[in-house]
């Protein structure tokens, strides 16, 4: 088999690249090791409404599970901060359908798609990577391609076998565990987030509603924690008297929350999405980031093929680092500061912040909010809090 481009992994990033490259008229093969693309899901399925227009994805009811109007934050001692918009701000997807439909859009654009096809290694010829070795059911297949795209998720195996350094220290990952379950008593129009060092070290517990009484209920904690994510989620459910007897799914995964890969293209190999650690380090969301990286990568892949100049792939690294990379580095800085907050700090901040402040933070304009916090009497009394907040400006 010979293609212009082979894409390993049909999560979010892979199908976006495959679709865009196929649209430009080049031959593309998209493979995934899963027998059913999208299943099992490893996701809370929340995404901003903006991505549909931005990345040219149909707003299709088949994978829009529920529309969301805002968020509610809970501090360790139960103080609440609500942010509610009049308009839909985000959606909870059905990722099993969404991922498969993204692959379908790639196929419709002209890409070949092979499920249950696992890349096992890269093929090296004359000192360069000439394609990948894969296995479809028990049949070995050799796929030759001019450009290899590693969109293989957190494992990043193919990217690493191709010689791209995607290593990040264990503290730069979150371990996540989630139940899709029946749960009552939470406003189904909002996503709900609980913070606290006892509740979810470094991370948070989430309830993302999929129905009036059904939600993804999950947790992310630092992956170098000696306890498991499951331990903390089960504890939270017990402590809050939430019965865990109507569990429809158990979802497990590890999320990169830092450690962005420096070199996103090496010779003719390109790495995108979780494989390149392109995830928001504050909330662990990576779908929009995977779409953005996939869009930039595919632009340069198409140019490189058109101009028959593979060195143009380096521009993907450059452009990503100048745009989304720059933004995510700032978010990483915030994560590192918020990691130092005590439960008392979290209680105080959530108590004194208003919905309007939350809106500013959500919009990325957090500096103004920090400045306001720095004037609050309870903050002024604590040199440690002043120091932490000042690091954010």
């Amino acid at each position: 088999m010979k293609y212009d481009v082979v894409v390993v992994g049909a999560g979010i990033a892979g199908p976006i690249v495959a679709r865009n490259v196929a649209r430009a008229g080049f031959s593309v093969l998209l493979i995934d090791k899963k027998p059913a693309i999208g299943a099992p899901k490893q996701c809370a399925e929340g995404i901003s409404i903006k991505v549909f227009d931005k990345y040219d994805i149909p707003y299709d009811r088949r994978y829009i599970n529920r529309e969301i109007y805002g968020a509610k934050l809970y501090s360790p001692s139960g103080h609440e901060l609500e942010l509610r918009y009049k308009e839909v701000s985000g959606v909870i997807l059905e990722r099993k359908v969404f991922d498969k439909m993204l692959a379908y859009y790639a196929a419709k654009a002209g890409a070949d798609v092979l499920a249950r096809t696992e890349a096992t290694d890269v093929i090296r010829r004359d000192g360069r990577i000439a394609g990948i070795r894969a296995k479809h059911e028990d049949e070995p297949v050799e796929i030759r391609a001019d450009i290899i795209v590693a969109a293989d998720g957190v494992e990043s195996t193919i990217a690493r076998k191709a010689g791209i350094n995607t290593y990040a220290p264990p503290h730069e990952f979150d371990s996540s565990y989630e139940y899709e379950m029946l749960i009552e008593g939470y406003d189904p129009d909002l996503i709900h987030l609980w913070f606290g060092n006892e509740i979810a070290p470094r991370g948070y517990v989430w309830v993302f509603p999929k129905d009036e009484d059904r939600a993804n209920v999950g947790i992310g904690i630092n992956s170098d924690n000696p306890e498991t994510a499951k331990y903390y989620l089960d504890k939270w459910l017990r402590d809050n008297n939430i019965p865990a007897r109507k569990l429809l799914e158990v979802n497990v995964g590890v999320v990169p929350v830092g450690g962005f890969v420096r070199e996103l293209a090496k010779d003719n190999v390109v790495v995108v999405g979780d494989a390149a650690r392109q995830v928001n380090p504050m909330h662990g969301g990576g779908m929009a980031e995977a779409m953005e990286a996939g869009t930039i990568a595919s632009k340069w892949i198409v140019r490189a093929l058109e101009e028959e100049n593979l060195s143009l792939l380096q521009n993907y690294t450059k452009e990503w680092w100048e745009t989304d990379g720059k933004r995510l580095e700032k978010v990483l800085k915030v994560r590192k500061v918020t990691e130092k907050l005590t439960d008392e700090d979290l209680d105080l901040f959530i108590q004194v912040l208003s919905g309007a402040d939350a809106e500013k933070i959500a919009g990325g304009d957090y500096v103004e909010v920090i400045k306001a916090l720095l004037k609050h009497p309870k903050v002024i009394l604590s040199p440690r809090r002043i120091k932490l907040l000042k690091q954010l400006i």
Binding site: E155, Y167, F173, S175, S223, T228, V252, G253, V254
Partner: protein, 67 residues
Amino acid sequence: MAEKIRVVVNEDKCYLCGGCAGVCPTLAIEVHSSGWEFFQDKCIGCRICINACPVGALSAKPLEVKE
């Protein structure tokens, strides 16, 4: 140097999520669609994978040193 260990999986707990493979610095774990695989010769015994597993499916057995 870290103690030489054999990382073992409890298949009844493992979800094949791929997380342990992602955090392993040496590609000593591969997670296939149908199974979990460990490569002893690559493992440096850092135990990063064991902590990272969201469900505690991994454990370490000390490796017997051949004289």
